[in-house]
């Protein structure tokens, strides 16, 4: 069988696995619901309203969020790894997640300062809340990075600048936490644990469309990404504007990270690991195959993590960050060892 045929079979199996995991995400959770009740939610008019709420208004948006967040972070990681030609690059590398964290810290602190008096009159602040703050913080850092990257030719230098910005944002966040009252950093702790449940039905549409736009754009980048692997000089000889190409890749990667981090908190590991998983499974570095493969594997692994985090028996939901690496790391090691 040719490599192409094998890849198509693998792709179909991953889609199939993803669908099964999606359904399991709707069926399994910390409340055990009899199968007949679940069946009624989808196929009968007379379903138990409580069960319907749990499945349709809580589990469904969470599964959709997990799916898109997983795809977005994985693609973002792939773009970073290719752009920097560095297998350890991940979405957090450019300081975008730390920027989001800083945004959250500033808002929470502002809320603390304005507390009792001013805030009640400017209710909009508290309603817009944490996601907006994170998004503003992430976008701010993204703009900085884009500004730097337009001046720099060498992408390795950009990694260093990204890491420095990341440390800077992190330290500002820590300083703020230091000066905050204990009670005020509660929200920060919650946001930092990462969760797919914060999006909810009301914001789901906006979140999904935002992510889909980014994912769609990344599909058009495949050729440009392949060219990067050949080296800058070669690319220029092919008539490609390397600088603009790089800028566009950073923009898409940063945008996807910003959206996901804003709504779900800083989610680790997926962005780093999924591209490797895809490369080893599909035995290719051609981005025309890798990009869709990374999306699908990202969705599937993310759904698996979300399922494990909410398994009955765990009191409360496990923080998603505790699960991603715990599930993902052994899988990656196994895949690498098996393929070698």
């Amino acid at each position: 069988m040719s490599r192409n045929k094998i890849n198509i079979i693998i792709l179909i199996s991953i889609i199939f696995l993803g669908i099964i995991l999606f359904i399991l995400n709707l069926f399994i959770g910390s409340v055990t619901i009899p199968f007949s009740d679940l069946f009624n939610v989808f196929f009968s008019e007379e379903s138990n309203p409580t069960v319907r709420t749990i499945v349709m208004d809580y589990r469904l948006p969470q599964a959709v969020t997990a799916m898109f967040a997983g795809a977005a972070l994985s693609i973002s990681g792939l773009l970073m790894q290719t752009l920097f030609r560095n297998p350890l690059a991940d979405p957090s590398m450019l300081g975008i997640s730390s920027g989001a964290g800083l945004g959250v810290a500033i808002t929470i602190l502002l809320t603390g300062i304005l507390g009792g008096s001013a805030l009640s009159t400017m209710g909009i602040w508290s309603n817009l809340g944490v996601s907006l703050a994170a998004f503003v913080g992430a976008t701010f850092v993204l703009m900085l990075i884009l500004g730097f990257s337009s001046r720099l030719r060498n992408m390795t230098t950009l990694i260093i600048i990204g890491l420095m910005i990341s440390y800077l944002a992190g330290s500002l966040t820590d300083i703020m936490k230091f000066f905050s009252m204990k009670e005020d950093i509660h929200a920060f702790v919650i946001w930092g644990m990462g969760s797919f449940s914060a999006v909810g039905t009301s914001k789901l549409m906006f979140f999904s469309i935002s992510v889909i736009i980014g994912l769609f754009a990344s599909l058009f980048l495949s050729k440009n990404l392949n060219v990067i692997l050949l080296g800058d000089l070669y690319a220029e000889n092919l008539g490609i504007n390397v600088k603009r190409n790089n800028l566009f890749i950073i923009l898409i990667s940063g945008y996807l990270t910003a959206i996901v981090t804003a709504y779900c908190g800083p989610i680790a590991f997926l962005g780093l690991a999924i591209p490797h998983l895809a490369r080893f499974t599909f035995k290719t570095s051609d981005h025309r195959i890798l990009t869709p493969a990374v999306m699908l594997i990202g969705m599937t692994v993310s759904l698996l993590c979300n399922l494990v985090a909410r398994m009955p028996g765990f009191e409360g939901n496990l923080p998603i960050n505790a699960v991603t690496a715990f599930i993902g790391a052994p899988v990656v090691i196994w895949v690498i060892l098996r393929k070698r």
């Binding site: 959770g29 910390s30 409340v31 409580t50 709420t53 749990i54 208004d57 809580y58 589990r59 959250v104 500033i106 808002t107 929470i108 602190l109 502002l110 809320t111 603390g112 300062i113 507390g115 009792g116 008096s117 805030l119 009640s120 209710g123 508290s126 309603n127 809340g129 944490v130 900085l144 800077l168 500002l172 300083i175 703020m176 230091f178 000066f179 905050s180 009252m181 204990k182 009670e183 005020d184 509660h186 929200a187 920060f188 702790v189 919650i190 946001w191 644990m193 449940s197 909810g200 009301s202 909410r310 009191e315 409360g316 939901n317 923080p319």
Partner: protein
């Protein structure tokens, strides 16, 4: 680049001004209604209205929240039907904080509580039994509420503790419950914090009982603090152990600072104006607190403290005079239910400190009193 530096500087400046700015937080209150049934608490008011009560809650996060409470048996007057209505007594409530369910329990109405958080932090036998029997569901932790279980409980009412930046409204939307904000921790006056029992009293239709309890607490508290107001010799006290090498101490306008002062004590950070906890480095603590007479310590673990054990934990401790003289006032929170109960017994808390500061002032009904929460650590 200049712009970036400017922005970073303005952020740092904003942070440094935060401590100053936070002081005004709880001074604000606009309770001027003569009919208001609340006297000490600044963050809620109860007004009698036709056939019921209006409960207004100010939690500082978003606009004030208004609830209209009517007994189940009365018909709701027309002008209120479009308001946020709570029918009392509530039949199924979820209480996020132990300061909420403890009042239900004290009123003998714990059967109205169907869910709570963090039951594993409590040593309350009845609660643990009800959770084990499945009559009360533990719905997770305050940082990680189990939404599915909460929806499944279908409560009428969720009492939650609001924190800056955390939006709980989706829990109400999903479960269909009324969300009742309960920012009792924002009260800095001990009697103000105790007064929150009235809210639970209303919810259980037992406002007469909680009103009486509260009036008794006020009478006892004020009698005691009156006695201490004229003492000349005020022993100095400081508070709390470091947590992971970070010292957080109560601000000078905090709840516990007020109790120290009312008990005729001299809190070494009394001049600070914060109502929350202050972050202070170990050197400053040592400098300021080394000569203090007493040291108030909270023990959240199951094993009791000893001077030997504490010494092994941190080599700075023996440098404090209070440690050397064995004047640590320790509360084993799990054993005595400190976080659940003490806020509704500020008179008892006050008596605890008077017992250590000025035992001769505990007369009349406090004759032969022995401390309930804070006991001197002897060995």
């Amino acid at each position: 680049m200049k712009k970036i530096i400017l922005i970073l500087f303005s952020i740092v400046y904003m942070m440094s001004s935060c401590n100053v700015a936070s002081k005004g937080k709880s001074d604000k209150h606009d309770i001027n209604d003569t009919l208001n049934l609340v006297t000490y608490a600044k963050n809620f008011k109860i007004l009698p209205i036709e056939r019921g009560y209006r409960l207004t809650i100010k939690d500082g996060f978003g606009s004030d929240k208004e609830y209209y409470l009517f007994n189940d048996t009365v018909s709701i007057p027309n002008q209120f039907t479009d308001k946020q209505i709570i029918k009392t007594p509530v039949s199924s409530a979820v209480a996020f904080s132990s300061t909420q369910w403890s009042v239900f329990q004290k009123l003998g109405e714990i059967n109205r509580v169907k869910g709570l958080l963090e039951s594993n932090y409590s040593n309350n036998e009845e609660i643990l039994r009800l959770v084990a029997e499945g009559k009360i569901t533990d719905v997770g932790m305050s940082t990680n509420v189990n939404t599915e279980k909460l929806i499944y409980l279908q409560p009428d009412l969720i009492l939650y503790t609001p924190y800056p930046g955390i939006d709980f409204s989706h829990l109400g939307e999903l479960s269909g419950a009324t969300m009742l904000s309960f920012p009792d921790y924002l009260e800095s006056h001990p009697l103000g914090r105790a007064e929150w029992m009235k809210v639970v009293g209303l919810l259980c239709g037992k406002e007469d009982v909680t009103n009486k309890w509260f009036n008794d607490v006020v009478r006892r508290y004020e009698t005691l603090s009156e006695k201490c107001s004229s003492v000349e010799d005020k022993p100095t006290i400081f508070s709390d152990l470091p947590f992971e090498n970070q010292w957080y101490v109560p601000g000078g306008n905090s709840y516990i600072a007020r109790i120290f002062a009312d008990a005729g004590g001299d809190y070494i950070w009394k001049d600070n104006e914060s109502t929350g906890s202050l972050h202070i480095d170990a050197e400053s603590v040592l400098l300021k607190a080394q000569q203090a007479d007493f040291w108030r310590v909270i023990n959240s673990y199951d094993t009791p403290f000893t001077y030997e054990r504490l010494k092994n934990e941190n080599e700075l401790y023996p440098l404090f005079k209070a440690f050397e003289k064995k004047q640590l006032l320790v509360c084993d929170v799990r054993e005595c239910g400190y976080f659940e109960k003490s806020q509704y017994e500020p008179d008892v808390l006050l008596a605890d400190f008077i017992y250590h500061f000025h035992p001769e002032l505990l007369t009349d009904e406090w004759e032969n009193y022995t401390p309930t929460y804070f006991k001197q650590l002897v060995k």
